[in-house]
Assembly symmetry: C2
Homo-oligomer: 310 residues x 2
């Protein structure tokens, strides 16, 4: 059996070694830098490896991302064309992501930032009660993660829509599709929730022009990728009063540099990329199944079309 190679700057290898070895007895699991003979490696389980790293393995059958996103793999200009590109579609991750978006939506809906500010001033004042059914939440991105989060927000009675490349049919969620429907989607969105894959089309999508199309007083939440949001434009829209608040889990540079103005902006909540941390226990079933399939010459699950890149 070929070997599995693990490399990630974020995730520790031991939980994966253990979880996969329990599922595949005799698995030859190698954690970088202990690669051994590159020709042994048939399956790479990776997160943000350096460019040109993956081309060094002549017998690679599959490259599996340690997260839902695969943009970090396609960012490699020398990415070998032969191996399957696989993503982790982890039900735990969907639940974690939905929880995080629910928390952000509820905090903004229930005037959390206003009441936090009142507490700092020791001010007791009841603000007008918000109405759930007319609060318009909009998800940029209705993939597996976006659909689950949008569905859970809609189940609480919010007015939920989503925007995606192709039209979706999801119960309780109004679907907007394609660039020609983006403006209409933005015009009806009070709380914008970003959960898009990173592609050339979504890079810098959330910029001054997009923020201007949201209603005054809108909130912006992003857990897609940092490169989709122009942070200086966000700060300007918050400072002008057009946007009322933002909660971000992803940034153009991670970790966020300690002198970045986002840290201290009173209308911004900074989360250190924790909306849906990868979890070996819940993801290992799927990775083990794909290792088995790929080594047996079968079609893997959750593979990505290299032409669409998601």
């Amino acid at each position: 059996m070929p070997a599995v190679l693990f490399r990630s700057p974020n995730d520790s290898s031991e939980p994966w070694r253990q979880a996969l070895s329990e599922r595949i007895p005799g698995l030859d699991f190698r954690a970088w830098p202990n690669v051994g003979d590159p020709a042994d490696i048939g399956f790479a389980l990776v997160w943000k490896v350096p460019p040109s790293f993956l081309k060094e393995f002549p017998n690679l059958k599959a490259i599996c991302s340690l997260g839902q996103g695969v943009d970090h793999i396609f960012a490699d200009p020398e990415l070998p064309r032969g191996p399957h590109i696989l993503r982790l579609v982890d039900p735990w991750m969907g639940r974690a992501m939905a929880e995080w978006f629910l928390l952000q939506v509820l905090r903004f809906h229930r005037q959390g930032p206003d009441y936090e500010a009142q507490q700092r001033r020791r001010e007791w004042k009841q603000l007008p009660a918000p109405e759930t059914s007319t609060r318009r939440v909009g998800f940029l991105g209705l993939g597996a993660l976006g659909a689950e989060a949008a569905g859970k927000v809609a189940a609480l009675g919010f007015d939920v829509a989503g925007w995606s490349r192709t039209r979706k049919s999801l119960p309780g969620i109004t679907s907007y599709a394609g660039p020609e429907e983006l403006d209409a989607f933005l015009a009806r969105t009070d709380i914008l929730c970003g959960l898009l894959p990173l592609t050339p089309e979504t890079t810098d999508l959330m910029d001054a022009s997009l923020f201007a199309k949201l209603p005054k007083g809108a909130f912006v939440v992003n857990a897609g990728r940092g490169a989709q949001l122009v942070e200086t434009d966000l700060l300007a829209a918050l400072d002008s009063g057009h946007l009322a608040g933002a909660s971000l889990d992803v940034f153009r540079t991670e970790p966020l540099p300690s002198d970045d103005p986002l840290w201290t902006h009173p209308k911004v909540q900074v989360w250190p990329h924790v909306s849906a941390l990868t979890n070996a226990d819940s993801g290992a079933d799927q990775v083990a199944e794909n290792i088995r399939r790929v080594f047996a010459g079968e079609t893997p699950i959750n593979s990505v079309d290299p032409d669409r890149q998601y």
Copy 2:
């Protein structure tokens, strides 16, 4: 047209005056104590008025509660027998309360206070990912509001139990009942959610002895009544490190005095009794319809059979 009289110790009259006047042009709306001639009053919109108050209006056609409950009306031994007794059937209030508890549970579950503190220090650090299915949420009180909130928390995958006077059968919620099962309920509760009615038995229930029975690191949330929680005991349990955080919407003295230490405690979030505001906008359609029907001699909606009292 007869006049509408408004009296409540909790609700302010102005939002109701405005919402009803928009719906019934020329409405003669009187807020107690500006009653005028008692014979003018044809419709009373009330919450917890004193005994013998309602018998003073000889031409009263209907008495409408400002809440779902009508027990406060039937508690009057001199309640006149002629008028219709009406309730406000407001789905909004249950939803608002459930939203508020979801927000508190998700914030504590997802380490919100820790990440807020990290942001103040400009510290980028990922904490261990929390596991939803093993996070034990416990509702003190499983009435209509508690059951709805507990059900929505359980629907997200949390391990939810509730404690009430009598045993409840609610899908997905473990029921603990009576004083003899309180300790077992507390021992399994990581996030305690208070939503009890105020009775002699629940006054001062949340005290040092109760907090000591929660696991170390537990969180306390209260939206029942302030007199159920001994605030000095809560602060001591937070300062000792036994409790990790608290979020309160009700207080022994409201408004919370500006020199109260709860305002500035780093582990306490203070909300000014807004978890589920009675909402004139969502209730006014129903009340206006009943005013119209009663004054036209038609059968009102949401009326209560005085013999069954519900």
